[in-house]
């Protein structure tokens, strides 16, 4: 493409079209641009347009297109990647680099940002080697005095240098930084000083100040990047200049820079916040050099905190500033800055207490955005909040001053509680702050599972609980002072391990009452607190609160929980549903009388949410609760399964018919559970569904595969004979599923689960005609694309087959597929790979199967397979004695394995939830080593002399020693 007016015109047309809302016009234009972007001069045409086009919209569009073009194409991927050739020719590259900086600096802000981004993308590749004059070009602009230009340079520099904050140290990186420092540090320092001077000369000019402060913010950010990796010599020598000025800026205020906006941080706040970060960087990494300046910063930052308001816009600044103090006060050699009683008192009074106050913004969130409030308050996503920072400062101070700090705060807590008592309806926020203060003071360590695990011994938690928390919760009105109610409930929740059990028991009915509170936060907290209390451990691995202790409350608890789900805003409240699940699990058979009503409510809920499933946690706990209802009821009365089927199948049918994808895997699992409850032959209602389960469309969805395999396994477990007799024509379809699964590297283990169940349960004759095909399929996968996971499953399968059908049958079927196949599999797969098998049951299956091959397979004794006998025995001993071989060849690392291979994965174990892992060998063999010894003994009596001679000629000494151990343990000798 030439740099001609005609081409500029064409490009303008196409750019315009890319802005068209109609895809029929937009898409072809985008395609066209992409097709010509490899042409020489294309980027230069774009640059010309963004500079000279008559229309502003084309200028902007060209700049965005240019930035994206650079982003996609500037980086030259290694020459090995042939389909990604270098699209930008060398002369264009040179021209771009020669022109882009002045162009960026003379452009209006909107375009400047795009070009600045483009420069940093180019810089990432070319700077410094292939763009040596970039820095000088930029630095020269500092002299311009035009702060629009200067800010452009600073912004670009910031995006070029900010990677120094996270990259690993390397010679290459440090060479670059050194080069940058040599060219940039002094001019930046001079600019910093000059800018500060200008700030005082323009102290009365608001618009000038805004520009200057934007520069200062960028300069402070650059300081952070340049000082991050190590303390550069230049900055050490100029620390006085930088730190003195930073300090002054921290203490500076100017009415003209104050903003009216309550939410958005202004320039002054952003600058001070960055300075706090810079000071924290020096305090942490360059303590020795920074020590002389540190006390001044502590004082300045502290004054800053004392004088900063409660508005949201100051939040980042305040939390950064408090975090700075928190990190400094923990260091032993700065202890003295804080230890004075007056200092401590005023930090507590002026910094901590005010930042713990419940603000208008919190109140709003409590009422109108309860989900967000709960997430912040309960789940700890409060990292950057003031309350959190204040809490961290308390904990930091407690490291050295726990006694005095506790003392000071006790006074505060008391006076705040007194304030509250004087006039609760006006002063309730004082009590909120008091509770928060006690909480942060007392908690030294906390986990989700156990609440507070270490508490400050100087705080009497139980006394506070009895005197100040319980009274609120006992109050007749559950809707009065909702924030204090939530505080109280949270207190129980987090100090549940510190408060004595009697007090917890007293609290339970109070919590149940609060399930009816109108405030979403309050009833959610009540549900959550109950759920947490029910999971506490007592002695002997039982629950702390027993079903017996809960007996008086069962009805009211269940009713209240389900009623809470009808409160506005909580129809799909996951905390409530989780509490339902946990209550079932705790109360066990005492819920049985309520099951009819419970299951009705759960099915109604299921029906309702299946219209539009949106809360995955809620849905999950709902299905858990359904499962629990089934399990608990059927444990007491197995015949009840029918009534569950009656209640649920209608909804299930609707879910399946409407193809509610989120719920289908759950439905299959509940069905598996129900089917397994049947003691006798499989009911006809299930059999009617069987053909549908084999529909390919179901198996196309990966999420269905594990639960469907599990369901089919339940069918086979309960109804193999029925399938063989009444649905023999479906066996090919069943095996088709196996074939489909085995073809996938991700799902082959699921295919093996299915196959193992088929082999274990189906009557042998029903499979006769398919047997050979099954093995052929497996051998094909083995030949074409074997993976470690496949081999492991394959080994388990053939050994299971050997156990079920006998070693001779195994050898025969292999050798009918291809002569000497059996020997080849032994030599190439079983012997070298057997040690990779993992899992107790899996190893046992393999041990028993191999023992059979060794001792019950005549061809192993008197054909050419005999030479494999000792190596196979050695491999078996290795399986017993050597650590598992878990090396995986490199390329397999990248296969997407969702589920680790095992005979029963966590997923299919669901089928037996509450039962033991399925072991097809079972009691037949208890100790595989002894079993091996006994089997060898039997073999040796059948052909005296042969076994010892095979052992002595080629079994290695170590293996032989192990084997002798097994023989001794089994008290047998070989003849």
């Amino acid at each position: 493409m030439e740099l001609s007016d005609a081409n500029l015109q064409t490009l303008t047309e196409y750019l315009k079209k890319t802005l068209d809302p109609d895809p029929a016009i937009r898409r072809p234009a985008e395609k066209f641009l992409e097709s010509v972007e490899g042409s020489q001069n294309y980027p230069l045409l774009l640059l010309t347009l963004l500079e000279k086009s008559q229309e502003n919209v084309i200028k902007v569009c060209a700049s965005v297109t240019f930035k994206n073009y650079i982003k996609r194409n500037w980086r030259i991927v290694g020459i090995l990647v042939e389909d990604e050739p270098n699209k930008i020719c060398e002369s264009d590259r040179i021209a771009i680099k020669a022109n882009i900086v002045p162009l960026m600096l003379s452009s209006p802000e909107q375009i400047q940002k795009q070009l600045s981004d483009a420069i940093s993308i180019i810089g990432r590749e070319d700077f410094p080697q292939k763009w040596p004059d970039l820095l000088t070009e930029m630095v020269n602009r500092f002299q311009s005095g035009d702060f629009h230009v200067i800010n452009g340079v600073l912004r670009t520099a910031h995006s070029l240098f900010k990677r120094y904050r996270h990259e690993f140290k390397s010679n290459e990186l440090w060479t670059e930084i050194k080069l940058v420092l040599d060219a940039f540090a002094l001019p930046l320092t001079n600019l910093f000083k000059a800018t500060i001077e200008l700030c005082s000369t323009h102290a009365n000019d608001a618009s000038a100040l805004k520009v200057l402060f934007s520069s200062l913010i960028l300069i402070a950010k650059l300081f952070y990047s340049l000082n991050f990796q190590d303390l550069p010599e230049f900055f050490e020598d100029n620390m006085e200049t930088w730190m003195t000025n930073f300090h002054t800026l921290l203490t500076l205020d100017n009415k003209l820079l104050q903003t009216d906006d309550e939410e958005e941080a202004g320039l002054l706040e952003l600058l001070k916040s960055q300075i706090c970060d810079n000071a924290a960087l020096y305090a942490q990494k360059y303590d020795e050099e920074f020590q002389p300046y540190l006390p001044r910063f502590v004082t300045a930052i502290w004054n800053l905190l004392v004088t900063t308001g409660q508005e949201v816009k100051y939040d980042l600044l305040v939390s950064n500033a408090i975090q700075f103090l928190a990190s400094v006060c923990e260091r032993p050699h700065y202890k003295h800055l804080f230890e004075d009683q007056n200092t401590l008192t005023s930090i507590c009074e002026k910094v901590i207490v005010p930042n713990m106050e419940f603000r208008a913004a919190d109140e709003e969130a409590f009422e109108d955005n309860s989900e967000e409030y709960i997430r912040r308050d309960l789940e700890g996503s409060d990292i950057d909040t003031r309350r959190r920072a204040a809490c961290d400062l308390v904990r930091g101070l407690c490291k050295f001053f726990e006694g005095p700090v506790t003392g000071i705060f006790s006074g505060y807590v008391n006076s705040m509680l007194q304030e509250y008592a004087k006039n609760p309806s006006v002063n309730w926020k004082h009590k909120d702050a008091a509770i928060y203060l006690v909480t942060s003071l007392a908690s030294k360590a906390q986990t989700q599972k156990h609440g507070i695990t270490q508490a400050n011994e100087l705080v009497n938690l139980t006394e506070f609980f009895v005197n100040h928390i319980q009274p609120d919760l006992k109050s007749a009105s559950v809707n009065e002072f909702p924030v204090l109610k939530a505080d109280g409930i949270k207190y129980i929740m987090i100090f549940r391990n510190q408060v004595p059990k009697e007090q917890l028991l007293v609290s339970i009915p109070l919590l149940i009452n609060h399930l009816q509170a109108e405030s979403i936060v309050v009833h959610t907290y009540a549900a959550h607190a109950l759920e947490r209390l029910f999971t506490m451990r007592g002695t002997n691995n039982t629950t702390l609160i027993t079903a017996a202790e809960m007996a008086p409350f069962v009805e009211v608890l269940l009713t209240s929980l389900f009623k809470a789900l009808t409160l506005p805003g909580s129809s799909e409240n996951e905390y409530i549903m989780k509490a339902i699940m946990r209550s079932f699990s705790l109360l066990q058979e005492s819920i049985i009388p309520y099951i009819p009503s419970v299951i009705t409510q759960l099915t109604q809920k299921l029906l309702a949410v299946s219209k539009n499933p949106s809360k995955p946690h809620f849905n999950h706990y709902m299905f858990e609760s359904i499962c629990l209802s089934i399990r608990i009821t059927c444990k007491a009365n197995p015949d009840a399964v029918g009534s569950f089927e009656e209640a649920l199948f209608m909804v299930f049918t609707e879910i399946l018919q409407n193809d509610v994808q989120e719920f289908i895997p759950y439905v299959f699992q509940v069905m598996s559970l129900l089917l397994e409850m049947h003691k006798n032959e499989i009911p006809s209602s299930y059999m009617a569904l069987f053909p549908h389960l084999l529909q390919p469309v179901l198996w196309e969805r990966t999420g269905n595969i594990p639960p469907l395999v599990r369901l089919l396994q339940a069918y086979l477990d309960r109804g193999a004979n029925t399938i063989a007799s009444a649905a023999a024509d479906k066996i090919p379809g069943l095996l088709g599923v196996f074939q489909k699964l085995i073809a996938s590297k991700a799902n082959d283990h699921q295919g093996f689960y299915l196959l193992n169940s088929i082999i274990e349960h189906m009557p042998p004759e029903s499979l006769d005609q398919y047997r050979k095909q099954i093995f052929i399929l497996l051998f094909q996968r083995l030949q074409n694309s074997k993976t470690t996971k496949f081999i492991k499953s394959f080994l388990v399968f053939i050994n299971l087959y050997c156990i079920k059908y006998g070693a001779l049958a195994l050898q025969e079927i292999f050798d009918t597929i291809q002569p000497k196949m059996f020997g080849m599999v032994l030599e190439k797969i079983i012997i070298p790979e057997i040690q990779k098998v993992s899992g107790q049951v899996e190893k046992k299956i393999c041990a028993v199967g191999i023992t059979k091959i060794l001792t019950e397979c005549p061809p192993m004794m008197d054909t050419e397979y005999t030479k494999l006998w000792t190596p196979l025995l050695q491999a078996l001993i290795g399986l017993f004695e050597l650590p598992e071989d878990d090396t995986i060849p490199d390329e397999e690392h990248f296969i997407d394995i969702e589920d680790t291979a095992g005979y029963q994965t966590a997923f299919s174990q669901l089928a037996f939830a509450g039962k033991k892992e399925h072991d097809p060998v079972g009691q037949m063999v208890n100790n595989p080593r002894i079993h091996l010894a006994q089997s060898l003994h039997k073999l040796s009596t059948a052909c005296p002399g042969r076994v010892p001679s095979m052992l002595s000629t080629s079994l290695n000494a170590e293996a032989l020693q192990y084997l002798q151990g097994y023989l001794q343990a089994a008290s047998v000798t070989l003849l």
Binding site: P232, Q284, E662, I705, A913
Partner: protein, 516 residues
């Protein structure tokens, strides 16, 4: 400052089960790029002979005290030096030397530009004029004490052979000044160091060491010897090292602190290299003495001794064992608690390399009570020392038995370790994350994964690891994500459902929940 191996390389070793202990040890690799000021605790490379007072100078010269100092202009100097009047030659050389010896801003460049160096070198050979020889030697010493270019000017003036032959001068002060000048030349770098060695500087230099040698002179000799041992790329030739080593070992027994210090520095250079170089030093049996000196209260002795021992333990397991047998582990606790942060840092680096050894050595480390000071350092040390302490913990967790890991955790390492996840240094964060993974591997073996999970959460580690999932450094972010996914996603045991293949929750009722 020790430099860490390439991360990838280390990780590879890290994950392999049969890890190679040697690969964990981190050699003191020359950092080619420094952002910081040159360190103050390094030994001085070149020194100028500064005249403190005229009186002292006069005494040392044995001159008549009433002699007036003669002021000459540069032009006069050039003329006199190049002339043939021996009296004027001496005056001019002396004037030159005086200018070069003044406390502030010696005019080294101007003197070089005069072009008189070859003449000064020539004066060195005037055996009949001892005062002239001496003045010239002094002046040249001070020129050589400058930048590399300054030293180069002296060497190219042909000074090396002249100074070497002056070592055997009958006048002690001339021979001493020559030792000094040679020290400055050797200190310039490996090139001139080897040039000196090739000119056979070592035998006459060593011949100067005797029980009668005055202490000041002996200090100079030791310092020059240390410069002959110094620098890598290449290392000094082996046979030269073997010649110097026995004398250095003797000097290390001296009572003068400066002599001990410089001989320790020399040994620290000799051990700063491959294992066969370390072996030569270990074979001399000097380790017990070095370990004694590590405990010396004098910083100038402790620093190089610690450094030398630190270098030794970067070697093989056997070499490390030799240092352990010499008692290094009993001295380290004090050094880890030393008031000076550079000592803390070096001590922690040394410990990190011992911790990289086999579990028997780790056991000795535990028995000698190294865990408490290590944890203290991790908690309260200077950042540079904390970084090394993190490496020590990381190496420990790689090679230790599960019992030893339990001991480590019981010593309270977790809290300070987690605090350092807030460090402003990506590498340190990554090493800690790797360490946490190692701890989990050990916990898995003990069936204590859940307990460790709780500890991590209690001590605010979980929250910090979670926050690192948004770290800008890719490797850090991935390592954090890995730990969360592996140990904390489903482990929030209360049946938080995991995400299945389809983005839905895995429906998994765990049995313990139903057996309450």
């Amino acid at each position: 400052m020790p430099v860490v191996n390439e991360h990838g390389e280390r990780m590879k070793k890290f994950k392999n089960k049969g890890k190679d202990a040697a690969a964990l040890r981190r050699q003191r690799v020359e950092v080619t790029i420094e952002l910081r000021k040159t360190k103050k605790d390094e030994q001085i490379l070149k020194r100028r002979n500064i005249s403190l007072s005229l009186v002292e100078e006069a005494v040392s010269l044995g001159e008549d005290k009433r002699n007036e100092i003669i002021q000459l202009s540069l032009e006069e100097i050039v003329e006199a030096v190049n002339g043939s009047n021996t009296e004027l030659q001496l005056q001019a050389t002396q004037a030159t030397r005086r200018m070069l010896s003044r406390q502030k801003d010696p005019p080294i460049n101007q003197i070089i530009e005069l072009g008189i160096i070859p003449r000064l070198v020539e004066f060195l050979t005037h055996a009949d004029q001892a005062p002239l020889q001496f003045e010239a030697a002094w002046a040249l010493t001070n020129i050589a004490s400058g930048t590399s270019d300054h030293t180069k000017a002296v060497v190219e003036g042909g000074a090396i052979p002249a100074f070497i032959s002056l070592l055997s001068s009958p006048h002690m002060h001339i021979s001493e000044q020559s030792v000094w000048a040679l020290g400055n030349i050797a200190g310039d770098g490996p090139l001139y160091r080897d040039a000196l060695i090739n000119c056979n500087v070592i035998p006459p230099l060593l011949a100067l060491v005797s029980p009668e040698t005055p202490i000041g002179f002996l200090r100079n000799i030791t310092w020059t010897l240390s410069n002959l041992c110094r620098n890598k790329n290449p290392y000094p030739p082996l046979d030269a090292v073997k010649k110097m080593l026995p004398v250095l070992i003797c000097l290390m027994q001296h009572e003068d602190k400066e002599i001990i210090s410089d001989s320790c520095w020399a040994v620290s250079y000799l051990t700063d290299g491959s294992n066969d170089r370390i072996q030569i030093v270990v074979d001399t049996g000097i380790l017990p003495r070095l370990v004694d000196l590590m405990a010396c209260p004098e910083l100038i002795v402790m620093t190089p001794a610690l450094r030398a021992v630190g270098n030794v333990v970067t070697g093989t397991d056997e070499q490390t064992q030799a240092a352990i047998d010499a008692g290094v582990l009993t001295v380290l606790p004090r050094l880890l608690r030393h008031a000076k942060s550079t000592i803390q840092k070096e001590a922690a680096w040394t410990l990190s390399n011992i911790a990289a050894g086999p579990c028997q050595q780790i056991q000795q480390l535990i028995i000698c009570g190294l865990l408490p000071p290590l944890v203290e350092l991790l908690d309260k040390g200077d950042f540079k020392a904390q970084k090394e302490a993190v490496w020590a913990v990381a190496n420990f967790t790689t090679g230790a038995t599960v019992e030893q890991v339990v001991e480590l955790i019981q010593s309270g390492v977790l809290k300070p370790l987690f605090n350092l996840l807030l460090a402003k240094d990506s590498k340190t964060i990554l090493v800690i994350l790797d360490t946490i993974s190692n701890l989990f591997l050990a916990a898995e073996k003990l069936g204590e994964t859940e307990r460790l999970c709780l500890l991590v959460e209690e001590l605010d580690g979980l929250e910090k690891i979670e926050a690192l999932q948004t770290h800008d450094n890719n490797m850090v972010y991935r390592a954090a994500l890995n730990i969360i996914e592996k140990y904390f996603s489903e482990e929030n045991v209360d049946q938080q459902p995991g995400i299945g293949q389809d983005g839905l929750y895995d429906f998994s009722v765990e049995k313990q929940d139903f057996n309450f």
